[in-house]
């Protein structure tokens, strides 16, 4: 783990470091909650499948 954000094949004149903040419970909650709201949600609930390939 490193706090240096510049990665490359030589040493830069200045280093750019960031403080990696520890994830708080609030951060975690907000991230988990957002995951449920946004994006493309698509999955198959296998229990519900009731088609028969042979019929096709």
């Amino acid at each position: 783990m490193s706090n240096e954000v510049l990665r490359g094949n030589f040493e830069t004149r200045d280093k750019v470091e960031i403080k990696q903040s520890e994830e708080t419970l609030e951060d975690r909650f907000e991230m988990e909650a957002k995951k449920r709201l946004g994006g493309s949600i698509a999955f198959v609930s296998k229990k519900k499948v009731m088609w028969d390939t042979d019929k096709k």
């Binding site: 783990m1 490193s2 954000v5 510049l6 990665r7 490359g8 094949n9 030589f10 830069t12 004149r13 200045d14 280093k15 750019v16 960031i18 990696q20 991230m31 957002k34 995951k35 946004g38 994006g39 493309s40 949600i41 698509a42 999955f43 198959v44 609930s45 296998k46 229990k47 519900k48 499948v49 009731m50 088609w51 390939t53 096709k56």
Partner: protein
């Protein structure tokens, strides 16, 4: 040698960063191979705001600052360009990727900070730009595949950059320059399958470029033979992509041996336990290769000992993987082979289960092939990820109900995307005026508005407006047929369409135009069956 800073712009801020930018990682590797001094700042991964972007711009005396990505990075790119100009005015700013490629002239005029744009593939163009900057040259118009500024004002598009044939000559992406441990591995999980859910060290690879189909909402970044240069209405050279009646493709793939060696590198150096294939459509390549490519990749997986083996405690060793399939081009056999080599899930752009909609979108899939592939995939033990889209030009109440019935019958849980005319797609060209109209003639506002297609931006449906589509999607998600029936009555009254008549306002002319190209799609599917196919098939007027 040139001192190069590559910045990966921020994308999809509503989610955590999940994908190392493959293109930038390859360009970094190529530039280092050529002997340049390269640093990467992954703004998307670190998400530290403008202060840190500013700090990286002043951290050294950069000769070049390069950035780019997909269309939805535009907001971030605009900020980066301004910061870089202010804090590293000496650096030549190079922009590339699908964003620049889809509208090079507009981008160069909206972003005056950019000195040179890389139109299309960057594998040769980018190192040539670096080499020119390094020797003090600024005549970018001498380099193929660029758009740059004329000394007296105006833009110059140089000649088109031919695509690289020998893909295996590429180095492996410079994954080590990205915060894998700090950011990406923490976000390895892909919630599309059990194995994806348990992925803890995932990297993505891109084994092929292009797709033989012509879905009218799709864009291939100008790196799939999909881009032509034509004179525009002002008599200036400009890019052109799929247009009704004109489709070009050049399908290319890495050898299975390169893919195997790349996965071994990812395993040995980064200890990965999951690989995501970024390829647009694995099946188009498999069919094109005469059904050898996927088989041989799977064989690599077995030979290298990566095919997963179950442990007694329910866990497994090996490397699972996932990718994108196609309803008509997949076979039962290849799916079984893929499962045996560790494939856990496959994304299918089913888009719709309504035959009259499927006929107009250029996918070469039918309701039957959608259903068939769905069951074949499940039977093979792979989870299909059945993507859906609503709001197509001829979407109507009938197609909406057909989709709802299919979801209900198949157990599909899905929040459909909205059909979105991203720049570079055929429907962007077809509907450009309509899009402009929805943004008061300000196209840049449309670009800034683009994000995930699960949000609504420009509407291309002839039958429904944005608010209707949002409401209809909500009712669809709840399988609420009653509300849909009720709203159909209101809609028919508003548009004076009697009961029993098709619920559509799309002119027959327009439907006819979409259907006329259906034979091109059939040819695309048929052509990709040729056993003796040569890989390079760019050929105006026919798809491959």
């Amino acid at each position: 040698m040139a001192k190069i800073l590559l910045i990966n712009p921020t994308v999809r801020e509503e989610d955590v960063p999940r994908h190392v930018p493959y293109g930038i990682a390859l360009l970094a590797a190529i530039a280092m191979e050529k002997g340049h001094q390269v640093q990467v700042y992954d703004e998307n991964a670190w998400r530290q705001g403008d202060e840190v972007t500013k700090a990286v711009c002043v951290a050294d005396d950069w000769d070049i600052i390069g950035y780019g990505g997909i269309t939805t990075t535009y907001g971030s790119v605009k900020r980066i360009a301004k910061i870089a100009k202010r804090y590293a005015p000496q650096a030549v700013q190079v922009m590339g990727g699908g964003l620049l490629t889809s509208m090079p002239r507009e981008m160069m005029s909206w972003l005056p900070e950019v000195d040179v744009g890389c139109v299309g593939e960057g594998f040769i163009t980018f190192p040539e730009i670096c080499e020119m900057v390094d020797r003090g040259g600024r005549e970018f118009w001498d380099i193929k595949g660029t758009v740059s500024r004329k000394p007296g004002g105006g833009l110059i598009m140089s000649q088109i950059r031919p695509l690289l044939h020998d893909l295996d000559s590429l180095p492996f992406p410079a994954w080590e320059l990205f915060p894998l441990e700090e950011v990406y591995f923490k976000n390895s999980q892909v919630l599309f399958s059990e194995e994806g859910m348990l992925a803890s060290r995932r990297l993505d690879i891109n084994a092929s470029y292009g797709c033989s189909l012509i879905c009218r909402f799709c864009y291939h970044l100008g790196i799939a033979g999909d881009m032509r240069y034509v004179e525009d209405e002002n008599g200036e050279m400009n890019v052109a992509f799929d247009q009704p009646g004109t489709y070009t493709r050049s399908i290319r793939y890495h050898s299975p041996e390169y893919v195997g060696a790349l996965v071994k590198h990812a395993h040995d150096k980064f200890n990965v336990n999951f690989i995501g294939f970024l390829d647009e459509n694995l099946m188009t390549m498999d069919k094109f290769s005469g059904r050898t490519w996927m088989n041989d990749i799977c064989k690599q997986w077995h030979d290298l000992g990566f095919a997963p083996k179950a442990n007694d405690d329910g866990t497994w060793t090996g490397i699972h993987w996932a990718g994108t399939s196609h309803a008509t081009l997949c076979t039962k056999e290849v799916l079984t082979t893929m499962r045996e080599a560790g494939c856990s899930h496959l994304v299918y752009g089913y888009e719709s289960f309504a035959p009259h909609v499927l006929k107009t979108i250029g996918k070469g899939a039918t309701r039957e092939s959608n259903l068939r592939s769905f069951f074949w995939t499940l039977e093979a033990g792979i989870r299909p990820v059945p993507n859906q889209i609503i709001g197509f030009p001829n979407e109507d109440f009938e197609s909406i109900r057909m989709n709802m019935h299919a979801w209900d019958d198949l157990g599909i849980q899905v929040k459909p995307h909205f059909a979105t005319p991203y720049p570079g797609s055929e429907w962007f060209t077809t509907y450009r005026e309509r899009i402009n109209g929805q943004y008061d003639g300000d196209l840049e506002r449309f670009i800034l508005d683009l994000g995930d297609a699960s949000s609504i931006s420009a509407v291309i449906s002839h039958n429904f407006n944005a608010v209707e589509l949002l409401g209809l999607r909500e009712a669809m998600l709840q399988l609420n047929y009653r509300r849909i029936d009720e709203y159909e009555q209101i809609w028919r009254r508003n548009h004076q369409i009697p009961d029993g008549a098709p619920s559509t306002l799309l002119s027959e002319n327009m439907t006819g135009a979409f259907l006329r190209d259906a034979d091109k799609v059939k040819n695309a599917i048929k052509d990709s069956e040729r056993q003796d196919a040569v890989v390079e098939t760019a050929n105006a007027g026919s798809t491959h």
